[in-house]
Structures are given as structure tokens and as C-alpha cells.
């Protein structure tokens, strides 16, 4: 396998043409991964550049620091965010993520990266207004780098290694920062026992589902009821896969109102677990194939079953800026999120 190719001229158009001709890239302009740029990226990572950090199916491609750096350069990353990309790449290779299934499924699932801790301010990630959207280099390029890793190293090309029926915009880039400054609770990684200064979480799920509430006048139960309502779509994989997680990304104002009513983070999960429910018979009517634990399988048809088998599967954090819009992010299902320290 060749390590380098020659591009006829030093221009974005020539690089895009050369890459597209080989089936590489995501369709958008790329930054040329010259040896000099890759070395500048690698300067932010300790360890052997060619050490295997994991293998990604279906291509069985090997993640190394060097190949991660190549894709980070292509995505337009600044070198200082490279440890975040590396952390995310390591997370993708964790067996509980089931990246083979993620790439093989017809579902539009994409890995959401949630960046937490000191690195958010140090590297200029956006945790505030419009955090899921465009306009911030760190968010945009780190998410894109992960997608390029999946396209190139994992071989998850649409219609080949990625069987998604419709695809989805989150498959271009899907990275957000946790707004710990405006959160009433400790950082999400610390709530999961990851005590490092910075961490990255990977959750493989759908795009964000908006939950608007402007009439609750601060009442926690009304805000939470709307969140629960958004979690009960029969179109979600969570409706038939008990292990599926929900990520609940509250805006600061909703989080503040909920915390003011003495809800802890775990209380929010428990409330949503109790209120996001359907009759077992309705779920059985819609799903012949159900990945439920025994206690859910044995429930009578009139029993109200939760959209996930355990309240701990409902993960809560704060994202965004001013306004009254939160979101829920359902899971693909047969996957579990991973939170890893950012180490380089």
C-alpha cells in the first residue's frame, strides 16, 4: 500500500480531484496532508506514531497516531485539538461502541462527540449558543476528522461499508462541547467517574431532537414532561432495544430551572425514565423483534414500559446558550457510550 500520492499542483481543487478519483474524502474541500502538516499534528501526541491504537471494521483499518493525524489535517483541524481527535478515535475502537454494527446498519446513526473540561476553553470549542451548529473551527473540524477516520480507516463509505438508508447530516460532523460553566451539576465525565482535566464522550445516536418550552415558567415538571414526550417516538430504536441510551442535552435555562426544583442529575434521569413510557402491548404491536431484558419481556400488555431498561441509560448534561431549547439524542441501540480522558 502506498503511503503517499503525488498531486499535480498545490491547490485545493487538485487535491479534491485526486482524492475523489480514489473514492476518498467526504465531498467537501480538504486540507492537503503533507508530511509537514502531519508532523505538526503529531507534535501534540506522545507515543509511537505508528503504534496500533485499535482496529475499525468493516475494513479492519488500523488506527495509529499518524493516520489519525492525516485525517485530522484533511479535516482542517488545528494541531492543538489533535489529542481530542485521538481520544475520540480510541473511543470508537472500544468494543462496547460496536462500531462494526454502527457502520453496517441501515439506521442513520453517527458518533456524537462531547468534549468536556479544560480543553474546551483552551482550544476554543463552542459549548454555548449554537453549539451543535456551524461557525466554530474546533467543533466543526474535530467532528469532521472522526467522520473522515470512519470513511477512510474503517471503510465506511455510503453504500459500501456504511449501509445507512438515508444517511444524515450528522455524518458530516457531529461534535459539541459541554457547557459546564452554566451547568448546575458537575461535569458529565466526572459524573461517570472520569476525573481527568479533559475528556471526550462518544455516543452513537441520531441527530438532536429539539424540545422547546417557553410556557413552563420555570416549572421543572412541565419542562421534563416535554422532554419525556420527545423520548417516546415509536420510530426510535430505543423503543425496541432496552440497552439503548438517551443523551439529554439541556440548555442552561432549562437546567437551572430543573435544578432550582432540587432535581439532581440522577433525579432528571429517574423522572424521564418514569414518564417516557408506552404500554407493553403497543410496543409489542409495533416490534416483533425486541431486545429487552427479562423483566420487560415478562410484562403484561397493559404495563407501562420505559423507553430504556434502566434510568442510568438516560445521560444528562448542559449544552448551548440563551433560550429555551433543549434536545434529546436517542441511541442507535446496540451500542454503549464511552467517555475517555484526553491524553494525547
Amino acid at each position: 500500500m502506498d503511503t503517499f500520492i503525488e498531486v499535480e499542483e498545490d491547490s485545493p481543487e487538485a487535491l479534491l480531484k485526486a482524492y475523489a478519483a480514489r473514492g476518498w474524502g467526504d465531498g467537501l474541500p480538504l486540507v492537503a496532508p503533507t508530511p509537514e502538516r502531519v508532523e505538526r499534528m503529531l507534535a501534540f501526541a506522545a507515543g509511537d506514531p505508528d503504534e496500533s491504537l485499535g482496529v475499525l471494521p468493516p475494513r479492519s483499518g488500523v488506527i495509529t497516531r499518524r493516520m489519525t493525524a492525516v485525517n485530522a489535517v484533511l479535516a482542517g483541524c488545528a494541531p492543538e485539538v489533535f489529542p481530542v481527535v485521538l481520544g475520540a478515535a480510541r473511543a470508537l475502537a472500544q468494543p462496547q461502541v460496536n462500531i462494526g454494527g454502527i457502520n453496517a446498519t441501515t439506521h442513520p446513526v453517527a458518533p456524537l462527540l462531547i468534549v468536556s473540561g479544560d480543553v474546551v476553553a483552551q482550544c476554543g470549542f463552542n459549548a454555548g449558543a449554537g453549539a451543535f451548529g456551524p461557525g466554530n473551527r474546533a467543533n466543526a473540524t474535530v467532528g469532521r476528522a472522526v467522520r473522515l477516520i470512519l470513511l477512510h480507516i474503517a471503510g465506511a463509505r455510503p453504500g459500501e461499508g456504511d449501509a445507512s438508508t438515508q444517511g444524515g447530516p450528522a455524518k458530516y460532523t457531529y461534535c459539541v462541547a459541554e457547557n459546564t460553566a452554566d451547568s448546575p451539576w458537575e461535569s458529565y465525565p466526572r459524573s461517570r467517574g472520569v476525573m481527568s482535566a479533559s475528556a471526550v464522550t462518544v455516543h452513537c445516536g441520531e441527530g438532536p431532537h429539539n424540545v422547546h418550552d417557553m410556557e413552563a415558567e420555570g416549572r421543572a415538571d412541565l419542562i421534563l414532561d416535554k422532554l419525556a414526550s420527545a423520548m417516546t417516538s415509536l420510530g426510535m430504536n430505543n423503543a425496541c432495544i432496552g440497552q439503548g441510551e438517551f443523551f439529554v442535552t439541556l440548555c442552561p435555562e432549562h437546567a437551572k430551572n430543573i435544578a432550582a426544583a432540587s432535581f439532581t442529575r440522577d433525579d432528571v434521569s429517574s423522572y424521564l425514565y418514569e414518564h417516557a413510557r408506552h404500554p407493553a402491548g403497543l410496543l409489542r404491536k409495533h416490534f416483533r423483534s425486541r431486545a429487552w431484558p427479562a423483566w420487560m419481556r415478562s410484562s403484561a400488555d397493559d404495563a407501562m414500559l420505559p423507553m430504556t431498561a434502566h434510568p442510568g441509560n438516560i445521560r444528562v448534561l448542559v449544552v448551548g446558550g440563551p433560550g429555551k431549547h433543549s434536545s434529546i439524542i436517542p441511541s442507535w441501540g446496540m451500542t454503549a457510550s464511552v467517555t475517555l480522558p484526553i491524553e494525547g
Binding site: M1, D2, T3, F4, I5, E6, V7, E8, E9, D10, A14, L15, A18, Y19, R22, W24, A32, P33, T34, P35, V38, S52, V55, P58, R59, S60, G61, V62, I63, T64, R66, M67, V70, N71, V73, L74, N98, G100, G101, A104, T105, T106, L148, H152, I153, G155, A163, I241, R288, S289, A291, W332, G333, M334
Partner: protein
């Protein structure tokens, strides 16, 4: 301008299908149910039709979980089930996705 290629090395040999036999006559056909709705029905009918036309026989119909029990389509087949298919069949019909 010299630039890196983006894919890197392949870490382990990918599984590949064995060469197709010249004839199915006398061979044993297994159906490995991938867990998707209707998959077992479609694949079993296919196996029965193939057997009737070629002189093969349907030797095993199994789900892909441990001990041949059902498993979600999104996870790999259990090792003991794969071993049983390997031991009890010459040809396997299975599928992925929907």
C-alpha cells in the same frame, strides 16, 4: 505536491467467502438466521428451494445467538453457533441488514 494517503494499513485478514462448490448435490445447507424480521422465512424458503432443485438437503436452521438462541441483528454471531454451522453444513445461507 506529495501528500499522505488517508486509509492506513489493514490490521487483520478480513473474512472472505469460500469458493462456491461446483454442484450442491449431496451437500448440507445451513440457514443462519441474522435476527431481522422475516429473514428466517426468506432464507429457509431459499434453502428448501435450492435443496429441491439440486439434491442438497437443509441440515441446520439456527439463530445466531449462543446455543442457537435468538440474538439482535446488530451483534455478531456467537462462536459456538458458528462452530456448529461449520461442523454441520457445507453451504451456509445468511444475510445482514434488512
Amino acid at each position: 505536491m506529495q501528500v499522505y494517503t488517508p486509509e492506513g494499513l489493514i490490521g487483520q485478514a478480513q473474512a472472505r467467502r469460500a469458493a462456491s462448490p461446483a454442484s450442491l448435490a449431496g451437500l448440507r445447507i445451513a440457514v443462519l438466521d441474522n435476527g431481522k424480521p422475516n429473514a428466517a422465512l426468506v432464507m429457509t424458503r431459499l434453502a428448501e428451494t435450492l435443496a429441491a432443485r439440486t439434491g442438497a438437503r437443509l441440515s441446520l436452521l439456527t439463530k445466531k445467538g449462543p446455543h442457537g438462541q435468538s440474538a439482535n441483528a446488530a451483534i455478531p454471531a456467537a462462536a459456538d453457533t458458528i462452530a456448529r454451522v461449520h461442523a454441520e453444513a457445507d453451504v451456509v445461507i445468511t444475510g445482514s441488514a434488512d
